[in-house]
Amino acid sequence: MIHRRSAIGTAAAALFVGRAMAQTGDTPTVAIQKFAAAGITDILSAKITQREKTTRFRGLFKTFFDIPAIGRFVLGRFARATSADDMAKFQALFEDVVVYTWTRRFGEYDGQTLSVRDSVPDGDEGAIVNSAIVGKDGQSLAVAWRTRKRATGHQIVDVIIEGVSMAITYRNEYATVIQQNGGMSGLLAQLKKQVDELAAKLDS
């Protein structure tokens, strides 16, 4: 069910992304600005159903994020011992987890904007783009984006909110689950359960 939905979602998202953008951006800063602008205009402020928002977000996420690289990082030292089949399953489930947990909160959007502050070099042809999500009341939240240069432009490999990295948090959490709850098959089973629950909530 999930996979069929993913396939339909991917097809629709491909159309959407094809229309919106072919490249992410020539510089890390441009990539982040384009991601934020497309997210706000085409998803957060758009008068469309939650399901449509999820589909659009999946497309945007796949264009602007290097999901396979994030997935590999999240599995960390366990990636090497993971079979190609399990790796593919993990990547698909991980993508679903992020898409569903992010889209769940789109309804709370209240005119916040993203203001990019600066960009500093990081790692192999990469950067950390420092930005702030600014609310109507002037309250701001520090968000840093770790990017790497890829064939399609600069892609995001991590989001760091107030010093807390999404990739590192998932990596530490999943390492604990692998260690304490039945290895990779235990992790896949728990992720599957989580994705099913999140998908069911999306329908309700």
């Binding site: 396979p68 030292r77 090497r80 010093g163 990596r171």
Partner: protein
């Protein structure tokens, strides 16, 4: 004569009671120690390098004990702390809540100021003092953070961070019900800040009513919980092991505070950029499977 006997009897009862109490205290200490020891996570053997690496990264030697404390905390949170924090968020308008946060931050200035100095951050200590003077006067007793608008943003230092700057490593993660995530070093730091640098503690030292301390502690707790509620709720919903996710988020946030907000260093696996284009060629084939 009779009165003397009853006094004697009373004394005997008191002495016995004290002995009993001491015995009970010793027993309690023994029970607590035993549960901590029983709650220790054992270090995985050398034959399991991955497990050892995860053990080292998590830095949670008391994990079974901490998980039990986390369970207690979550139960207390659901019944007492969360309803209070939620009501506070719903009833008190955002500007007033911000006023409370500002007031408490201003009141706790001595903690940050002392630790700025102990870390040798004289310039930052100057900012802290400047903020205090501006916010206490122009900011109406600290209710408004006007100093931030004048280029002196808020920062927080504590004795746990000072110890970290002095090179003391966190011994282990520690979860304390109600207080939440901390560590042995940071918990000790909290005690030093509380007894040494906190003006409210100084106030209650001087024979002033103790309820002030409790009210202050309650205000700090509600302010903290209502401010972090959204983030922790989000983490809870997006995780499959909330305890592990919260531990990671706390440790990263703590590292950021110790670095004074500098960007996190690149995480390295096998000495390479883990996000490099071909960081792990053996997995390249699977990266196209979506």
């Amino acid at each position: 004569m009779r009165a003397g006997t009853s006094v004697e009897g009373f004394e005997i009862v008191c002495v016995e009671l004290l002995r009993e109490l001491q015995r009970a205290k010793r027993l309690m200490i023994a029970v607590v120690c035993a549960s901590i020891v029983a709650g220790c996570a054992s270090k995985p053997p050398k034959s399991e390098p991955d497990a050892r690496a995860v053990f080292k990264e998590n830095n949670d030697r008391l994990e079974p004990f901490n998980r039990a404390m986390f369970g207690v905390d979550q139960a207390l949170d659901a019944v007492i702390i969360r309803p209070i924090s939620w009501t506070y968020r719903e009833v008190v308008p955002a500007p007033a809540r911000r006023g409370v946060t500002n007031f408490l931050r201003n009141l706790r200035t001595p903690i940050t100021f002392a630790n700025d100095l102990l870390q040798g951050e004289v310039k930052r200590a100057g900012f802290t003092l400047g903020r205090f003077l501006i916010n206490t006067t122009a900011g109406i007793g600290g209710l408004s953070d006007v100093a931030a608008d004048r280029g002196l943003p808020y920062h927080y230092e504590d004795f746990g961070q000072t110890l970290a700057v002095w090179g003391v490593k966190e011994q282990t993660y520690l979860y304390v019900p109600i207080l939440g995530p901390t560590g042995i070093r940071d918990g000790f730091g909290l005690a030093v800040d509380n007894f040494g640098f906190d003006p409210v503690t100084w106030y209650t030292y001087a024979d002033n009513p103790q309820w002030v301390n409790w009210a202050y502690f309650g205000a700090l707790l509600v302010d903290l919980k209502s401010g972090t509620m959204e983030a922790t709720d989000e983490l809870k919903k997006s995780s499959i092991d909330y305890y592990a996710a919260l531990r990671s988020a706390y440790q990263q946030n703590r590292a950021k505070e110790i670095r004074n907000g500098a960007p996190p260093p690149i995480e390295e696996i096998d000495g390479e950029d883990p996000f490099a284009k071909n960081s792990d060629p053996s997995q390249t084939a699977t990266s196209t499977v979506q």
